[in-house]
């Protein structure tokens, strides 16, 4: 197929259709929010009918689900996991702790704004969000994919220095591998 703009548009539509109906999630259950995932996945709410299901490893996953608060220690692992995931990849921040620190707003070891460190596509508010809210968040993510604006990896790549500077500001002992982008 010729790589002209019209045919590319058709490819984009098909890609977005396929992507938004197979969101495989990697649940990073650091906080209390992980307890809402089983009820979202099991028979009553049955997220799998929307194409949402669990993935075993970062490389197989499309969505990184950050359920709850992140400490400096766990943020390190999240960054590593995020960088291991293959594009296209999306991040959902889950619960008020990921949004603004929640009840840990004055903690010495808990980050307060997840989007300063990795690009976040959708935030789900609540403490904790009920499965309905989680499904609504996934619906929102599907809409963003359809509209073509869920471009986290692109933002991460373009603003890589800014993200890295923020990450290095709180992770003092930096011993990550340097990736080639």
């Amino acid at each position: 197929m010729q790589n002209d703009s019209r045919s590319q548009k058709i490819v984009d539509i098909i890609q977005a259709y396929a992507r938004r109906h197979s969101l495989w999630i990697l649940a990073y259950g650091t906080g209390c929010g992980a307890i809402e995932i089983p009820s979202t996945m099991t028979s009553r709410y049955d997220a799998e009918r929307l194409g949402v299901r669990g993935a075993a490893t970062p490389r197989q996953a499309d969505v990184l689900l950050i359920t709850g608060y992140l400490t400096v220690k766990t943020l390190k692992r999240v960054i590593r996991v995020y960088e291991q995931m293959q594009s296209p990849k999306y991040v959902i921040g889950f619960g008020s702790c990921a949004i603004n620190g929640g009840m840990y707003w004055d903690s010495y070891n808990t980050i307060k704004m997840l989007d300063q460190y990795i690009p976040v596509d959708v935030y789900i508010s609540g403490c904790m969000p009920r499965p309905e809210a989680v499904l609504s968040g996934f619906g929102k993510l599907q809409d963003l994919i359809k509209a073509g604006v869920a471009d986290g990896p692109k933002r991460y790549e373009e603003n890589f220095d800014w993200y890295r500077a923020n990450q290095k500001k709180i992770i003092k002992n930096w011993n990550f591998a340097d990736y080639n982008w």
Binding site: V72, K73, I99, W105, Y108, K112
Partner: protein, 192 residues
């Protein structure tokens, strides 16, 4: 034999061997509190475990007495045969908290000591453990000490999302809206 008598016996046996700075029986709470110097602490823990049957270390607590300039360690022991508790308290200098390693008495003390080292800066001489336990990449002062201002630290280090500046007390906001009055017992918790 009733509880008070059993406690008296235990106290007498401890007093034969150790000089106690303070001791008190709380028979209703099923416990005997004794305070000893830091040098005698390992010996008295050994004595309680080997001779008196307090074989179970329930918990180790720590209190930061900033007014007295001391850190108080509380070793909470339980005897499964006697069904009694003994709390052994000892105080360390807050400026330079040093203590011997005691994880040969109960191996689980190792975990407590690692945590105290990180969170309160207590130096356990001879402790064999990894450098980092709960806090990674931490180069500030021990964060659980009372003079550590956690809010100021968080404001300085982490990005804060705007929008919480006008956060209101939920109870007061609701009461204001519904034209009620705060009851007297709740007034002392008021933010205004």
């Amino acid at each position: 034999m009733d509880k008070g008598k059993r406690f008296d016996t235990i106290r007498a046996r401890i007093k034969e061997n150790f000089v106690l700075s303070q001791d008190k029986i709380y028979a209703d709470k099923n416990r005997l509190d004794i305070s000893v110097s830091k040098q005698r602490t390992p010996a008295i823990l050994f004595f309680c475990k080997e001779q008196l049957g307090f074989i179970h270390l329930m918990h180790v607590g720590i209190v930061d007495w900033i007014e007295d300039g001391t850190l108080e360690l509380v070793f909470m022991l339980w005897s499964p045969t006697e069904k009694l508790r003994v709390y052994i308290r000892t105080r360390l200098n807050r400026e330079n908290p040093v203590m011997e390693n005691m994880d040969m008495i109960w191996p689980q003390l190792n975990t407590y000591e690692r945590e105290f080292k990180e969170m309160y800066g207590i130096d356990f001489k001879g402790l064999i453990a990894a450098e980092e336990f709960l806090l990674e990449d931490w180069d500030g002062p021990p964060p659980m000490l009372r003079d550590f201002d956690t809010e100021a630290y968080a404001q300085e280090v982490f990005h804060t999302r705007p929008g919480r500046e006008d956060a209101q007390d939920v109870r007061e906001a609701i009461i204001k809206r519904s034209q009620e009055e705060i009851p007297d017992f709740a007034k002392k918790y008021s933010r205004q």
